[in-house]
């Protein structure tokens, strides 16, 4: 198995192209103007909101509004008051827990459905598999913003309103098509010969799936899983529509609807909430950044 595995992985990996190419023909000053300077501007603009979020989250209220005496870009007396307030005086930990439970359950459910669907479409090639594959792709293009009103009616009639199940069952509407599409691309990269060998050796389709295809597609499964988790973590419109009570809310909805009170904006707590709510996906992302990038580009390239 080990040799098969490494052979398959070698085959799926794109050969390294000679990047760099004719870069040596450029002089250094030219490179500074055409490459490094614009890159610096891009990085600063793209990262500034995160810096601003972080610095505000640890800034005392006094410094936050007094631009005359304190440079707003820096913090003189950092404080954990906002974070303490957020974690102990609001329902924030509960929202975090809800988000984790809902995202994990929705990811698991979608991945399970998507593995079977993708294998059936890509490898069993039943009659109409191509059309089903196209339908799955089209399903991914149906946006939540045209589904949330009918779904809210359904959720209410099914008695799921204001329960985590309302979200666990509706998130797969965008997760299943996405994961299926991503895994289809991955399964396509596994050589047919491996399955044929196993068939000749008397393996059933189930054995082929669980003992050959799935072990070889672990990287693809990880990509799909991370992606599905991130998408459910970031979901907003369903969570805003289907959840009513404060203790059932998810992080994005909770931060926006519960921390903003009348006219007094608790900017420090809001920024701390946004920062802590972003951390799990950022940490997950930084661990699997290669999977993330390759699955994102892979899914688009298909």
């Amino acid at each position: 198995m080990a040799t098969i595995k490494s052979a398959a992985i070698k085959k799926t990996k794109r050969p390294e192209l000679d990047e760099g190419g004719m870069g040596y023909l450029q002089s250094l000053p030219r490179r500074v103007v055409t490459v490094y300077l614009p890159l610096l501007v891009f990085v600063i603009v793209l990262l500034f909101p995160f810096y601003w979020m972080t610095i505000t989250a640890v800034k005392p209220n006094l410094e936050m509004t007094d631009y005359a005496n304190f440079n707003p870009f820096w913090v003189v007396h950092p404080t954990f008051e906002h974070i303490r307030y957020l974690l102990f005086d609001t329902s924030y930990p509960g929202w975090l827990l809800n988000t984790i439970i809902i995202s994990t359950a929705a990811t698991f459910l979608s991945l399970l459905a998507a593995v079977f669907a993708a294998y059936a479409i890509e490898r069993l090639r039943f009659s109409g598999a191509r059309q089903v594959g196209l339908a799955v792709f089209l399903a991914y293009l149906v946006p939540p913003s045209i589904l949330f009103i009918p779904l809210s009616v359904m959720v209410f009639n099914l008695g799921l309103y204001d329960t985590p199940f309302a979200l666990i069952l509706t998130y797969p509407t965008f997760l299943v098509p996405f994961c299926t599409w991503l895994l289809m691309g991955y399964f396509r990269s596994i050589p047919f010969e491996l399955e044929e060998c196993a068939l000749i050796d008397g393996a059933s389709r189930w054995q082929i799936l669980t003992k050959i295809v799935l072990p070889l597609s672990v990287p693809g499964l990880i990509s799909a899983g991370i992606f599905a988790f991130t998408l459910s973590w970031n979901e907003f419109i369903y969570a805003l529509t289907f959840i009513q009570s404060s203790e059932n809310k998810t992080v994005p909805v909770g931060v926006l609807t519960e921390l903003v009170r009348s006219d007094v904006y608790e900017w420090g707590a809001l920024m701390a909430g946004a920062l802590i709510g972003s951390l799990p996906v950022v940490v997950l992302y930084s661990f699997f950044v290669e999977h993330y990038v390759s699955s994102m580009t892979g899914a688009v390239k298909e």
Binding site: E19, S110, L256, K301
Partner: protein, 316 residues
């Protein structure tokens, strides 16, 4: 058979053999494997889509089932200036944000495609705005755009470029520009990283050959990079346009459609009328009105994809 990699099964009995024939039949097995995904999607995607169209023809409100009223919702919307304003806003928002995202994303992709030190580090950093939840980064923008304590206003005033604070979200024109800027900020990474992946599949030898033929830098870009990148541009921009057109979160956080409906998109108007206002029928009608635009975008991209076949030298 000499080297079995999977345990060989004992010879099956007649009954289990017929069962296993069924299990090996592509269609029966395919149906079984498709079942979980198909059930989820039919119940929670296809059915609601139909239900949404039906709701658009009824006067359903929250807590009260409606009756069929024909096209009354659409007739009402046809004469509703706010609805048309939201259509205009959505088109303006989608078109300007997409053009900016494409131009800046392509530029960033071209920069990242150079032989840079810490290349993968930059690639990872650049994708961050796309990874964090939109609502949470939108809250950061809300604070950046604050009417009193906006850091942008302060910085520009310190530099002496402006003499009074900019009212980012209070003035209709400024509000439109501000939400578009926030959307572009979030969208650039997606465009850049996907286009970067496309750029990396273009062989360097083509550039070398073109350079030997005396091509200028612009000609290299125009006649080598762009044609080879067209298929992936078509797909990336379709996704980008679809998601921008149906955007909801950013507007909901930053302006909720204000000031005086200047930033209302069709999605936010649909939410406001359907959920906040309780007029589910009317909200559904607004959502259904988005479908023709989405179909147009998908068809446009479909023909973009068709070009891909002759570019790769294959027939249909």
């Amino acid at each position: 058979m000499a080297v079995p990699t999977v345990a060989v099964q004992p010879r099956p009995s007649i009954l289990s053999r017929s069962l296993s024939t069924l299990a090996e039949s592509r269609n029966a097995l395919g149906f079984g494997f498709m079942l979980p995904a198909a059930a989820l999607l039919l119940v929670f995607l296809t059915y609601p889509l139909g239900l949404g169209v039906w709701l658009g023809f009824t006067d359903t409100r929250i807590g009260r089932p409606g009756i069929f009223i024909g096209t009354e919702n659409y007739q009402y919307l046809w004469d509703d200036a706010v609805f048309w304003l939201s259509v205009f806003n959505t088109l303006l928002y989608t078109i300007s944000a997409s053009i900016l995202k494409f131009a800046l994303g392509l530029w960033l992709a071209l920069i990242l495609n150079q032989n840079l030190p810490f290349k993968s580090f930059f690639r990872a950093i650049v994708l961050l705005p796309w990874v964090v939840p939109t609502v949470l980064s939108a809250i950061a923008f809300w604070w950046i755009y604050d009417s009193q304590f906006s850091i942008l206003s302060w910085a520009l005033m310190e530099m002496g470029l402006i003499d009074h604070r900019i009212n980012f979200l209070g003035d209709p024109e400024n509000a439109r520009a501000s939400v578009i800027a926030a959307n572009v900020w979030r969208g650039i990474p997606f465009v850049a990283i996907t286009l970067l992946a496309g750029l990396q599949t273009i062989p360097q030898s083509l550039y070398e050959a073109a350079t030997l033929d005396g091509a200028s830098r612009w000609q290299l870009f125009r006649y080598v990079t762009l044609p080879l990148l067209t298929p992936i541009i078509a797909i990336t921009m379709t996704f980008s346009v679809l998601f921008t057109f149906t955007d909801f979160q950013l507007i909901y956080v930053l302006t909720r459609g204000g000031p005086v409906n200047a930033t209302h998109l069709m999605a936010t108007l649909s939410f406001q009328r359907g959920i906040s206002g309780g007029q589910l029928g009317e909200g559904a009608a607004i959502a259904v009105a988005m479908i023709p635009f989405l179909l147009a975008a998908i068809l446009f991209s479909y023909f973009g994809l068709q070009r891909r076949k002759w570019q790769q030298g294959g027939g249909d």
